[in-house]
């Protein structure tokens, strides 16, 4: 209780609340501007957090994160163009409802669904993070290495059409992290005799260069787009219908809870962020609805589901970061960087080692949802006005700001050069169709993977331990199946083998779960076997329902 009170006082003071309010407003703006992602907002906030203590810094970033998730709904509902990928599904019903003459109600539904989704995920964060951290304490070096491997493979597999490009990006990220002095032995690697390379690349300049610099260059590539206003939102006198919307959201509590849980569990999964959760929740709400034909025409459930899910994702990704020390996406990777600046290393023992900071994060997440609700209600008109700025003006100032912010990290000019080089690299890489998320996570997770591998080998050089340790085997199986996931998605309903994919996953996972011992886990393993066998039986009897895939149908 004393720790909680201490954490509460760290957040509930005028200075921190002011910083959180500024952060939430910045997040709302970055979320409301199409093409200007939440990750960009968080990345740009980072340099300002150097002068703050760890609690203030992370609370400000949480404000940006939550604000960004909610900000996307404004342009999505009013213009039909989602501000962020996390509010794509909101436009499906939000925009039709606004065009039908109910923009205030549509915005209200979005605002309140975001709020309740955030609160549900905050409750789950408080409940689940310590439990998951307790599980994490069971992990040994082999398990950690396999977990990092799984995080990278799933990032690559979710990176779209071309998984090979995703995997290449991940591997390049891992390699970039090896340049410079080796953390394990202190030996210089790939420095080619150049001092600048011997020091290695700072993670944050690389990240800001790869992400922010290259994103801005992409935004201004087309001269016409560069000179256009950030958002084409027309000036409207809109009042959010709070009372009606809040009641409507609470009446649809089942959809709200299911969507929030979908969002939260998507967030827990490494690499699967709010861009995915809002679509999943929308799809689930449509399936659950007694009137699925109303979806797409301005249906209330069609706004509640994606908005509650995308805000709930934030809580889920914070759970993974706090409990396991693994960033789930670019946003939590930046937050992890912010914690490292303050000499706080997230790991399974983080909640025990830094209980005040951990509780401060929980409290900040709660507060952020209230702040965003308040800001969205009071400053809607101001946000619409801010998005009238032209992209080239914003990009030019932000590019200079990136340089200043990066310099402030270590007070060395070489960091600005790193930002510049990785800005060019990120832009070229992006232009060639490679996803940046696996690259960034590779840079973040590379040193972690190498250090756990070194620890594992220091204990024993026997590689069999990677498959005889239950958690390690669990993550390796998950990694193998995540590599095959994009093939499964393409072939589902077309190829026979795809029917056996999920049963095979359930049956395979039952082995390490059974090996974990105790009482509960073997029962879980039996459950997994039962589910796997039942799905196998169903798949076996689904003969004749396979449609030929496009490849198979192609004449030879």
């Amino acid at each position: 209780m004393e720790i909680f009170l201490q954490a509460f006082l760290e957040i509930a003071n005028v200075q921190t609340l002011m910083l959180m309010t500024i952060g939430a407003a910045a997040g709302l703006i970055s979320g409301a501007i199409p093409g200007f992602t939440i990750a960009m907002g968080v990345v740009l906030t980072l340099p300002f957090t150097f002068g703050m203590n760890a609690s203030q810094g992370i609370a400000t970033m949480i404000g940006v994160f939550v604000g960004g998730l909610s900000g996307g709904l404004m342009s999505g509902i009013l213009t039909g163009i989602p501000g962020t990928p996390s509010s794509v599904a909101t436009t499906f019903d939000g925009f039709p409802m606004a065009r039908r003459g109910q923009p205030g109600f549509a915005l209200g539904l979005g605002v309140w669904a975001s709020f309740f989704g955030g609160i549900i995920s905050a409750i789950m964060l408080v409940a689940l993070a310590p439990q998951l951290a307790r599980l994490g304490l069971e992990f040994q070096p082999w398990d950690y290495f396999s977990l990092v491997f799984f995080a990278l493979t799933i990032t690559a597999s979710l990176s779209g059409e071309n998984m090979i490009k995703g995997l290449i990006a991940g591997m390049l990220g891992l390699f970039i992290a090896t340049i410079g002095e080796d953390d394990v032995n202190g030996i210089a690697r790939f420095d080619f005799g150049i001092d600048y390379l011997r020091d290695g690349f700072g993670f944050l300049p690389v990240l800001i260069g790869l992400f922010a610099f290259s994103q801005l260059m992409s935004d201004v590539r087309d001269p016409k787009d560069a000179r256009a206003k950030l958002s084409q939102t027309e000036e409207m006198d809109i009042r959010i219908e709070h009372r009606r919307a809040a009641i409507a959201v609470l009446r649809r509590w089942k959809n709200l809870i299911v969507s929030s849980l979908i969002g939260m569990f998507t967030g827990i999964l490494p690499a699967a962020g709010s861009a995915i959760s809002n679509i999943l929740a929308y799809d689930q709400a449509k399936k659950m609805s007694p009137n699925p034909e109303e979806f797409g025409l301005g249906c209330e459930d069609g706004i509640i589901a994606p908005e509650s899910a995308n805000n709930a994702t934030a809580g889920g990704s914070l759970i993974t970061m706090m409990a396991l020390g693994i960033p789930g996406d670019v946003i939590t990777a930046v937050m992890l960087g912010a914690l490292l600046i303050h000499d706080v290393v997230p790991s399974p023992s983080f909640i025990n080692d830094s209980p005040v900071l951990a509780n401060a994060i929980f409290i900040a997440f709660f507060f952020a949802n209230f702040l965003v609700l308040f800001l969205q209600s009071g400053l809607l008109r101001a946000f619409v006005l801010i998005t009238k700025v032209r992209m080239y003006m914003l990009a030019s100032v932000i590019l200079a700001f990136c340089g200043i912010g990066v310099f402030a990290l270590n007070n060395v000019t070489s960091d600005i050069w790193t930002l510049f080089f990785f800005g060019i690299f990120g832009y070229v890489f992006r232009s060639l169709g490679f996803p940046l998320a696996p690259l960034i996570l590779g840079v973040v997770l590379g040193p972690v993977a190498e250090s756990w591998l070194a620890r594992a080998l220091a204990i024993s050089s026997d590689p069999v331990l990677f498959v005889t340790n239950p958690w390690s085997l669990f993550f390796l199986i998950m990694a193998a199946f995540s590599i095959g996931f994009s093939f499964y998605q393409k072939q589902r309903g077309h190829s026979r083998w795809a029917d056996f994919y999920i049963p095979a996953l359930a049956l395979s996972l039952s082995v390490p779960v059974f090996m974990m011992g105790g009482y509960v886990r073997p029962v879980l393993a039996v459950g997994l076997i039962a589910v796997g066998l039942w799905m196998l039986w169903q798949a076996w009897h689904r003969k004749g329902q396979i449609e030929p895939s496009n490849d198979a149908a192609r004449p030879t």
Partner: protein, 159 residues
């Protein structure tokens, strides 16, 4: 038949892998520790080489033809990013002389003028935006965050 973009990229990746694998033999191996400093990067490079090979084979098998390269078309298409990168490079080169304050103002002004309209009215607007934004950032970092930003050699000592 001109190669498509993916074939060129995969070839560049393969060349990169071979250079780095060769460079890994120059890394000193200490007598201590179970994990040699080259083991992890070599494992990563081996996987990267394998993936690049798969990428190369897929690109060749796709049968897509690349279009003939035109420098003029390239420069027109990528005018804005190229100009911004050059401006940033000049900003970095002149940083010891101009410092963040003057250099930053000039950088923002030049980029605004390259990317936006450049009639008199806009030039004045760009100058105001550049001066105000960088001055505010400079003040925040210098006075609020206590960061000693590069002053440059031409600015009087009082700054």
């Amino acid at each position: 038949m001109p190669f498509n973009k993916d074939i060129w990229t995969s070839l560049a990746l393969l060349a990169f892998c071979f250079v780095m694998i060769a460079a890994s033999f120059d890394v000193v191996s200490p007598d201590f520790g179970m994990l040699s400093p080259t083991a992890w990067p070599r494992a990563v490079l081996a996987l990267l080489t394998l993936l690049s090979l798969i990428y190369f084979v897929n690109s060749v098998r796709s049968g897509q033809r690349g279009s003939a390269f035109s420098l003029k078309a390239f420069l027109i298409k990528y005018r804005n990013p190229i100009c911004c990168f050059i401006a940033y490079f000049v900003f970095l080169i002149t940083l010891p002389l101009l410092g963040i304050l003057i250099g930053g103002i000039l950088l923002v002004f030049v980029m605004l003028t390259i990317l936006g309209e450049n009639d008199i009215r806009h030039l004045v607007l760009h100058a105001v935006i550049a001066t105000v934004s960088i001055s505010i950032l400079w003040c925040i970092f210098t006075f609020a965050l206590n960061v000693r930003l590069p002053r440059g050699s031409i600015l009087p000592a009082m700054f």
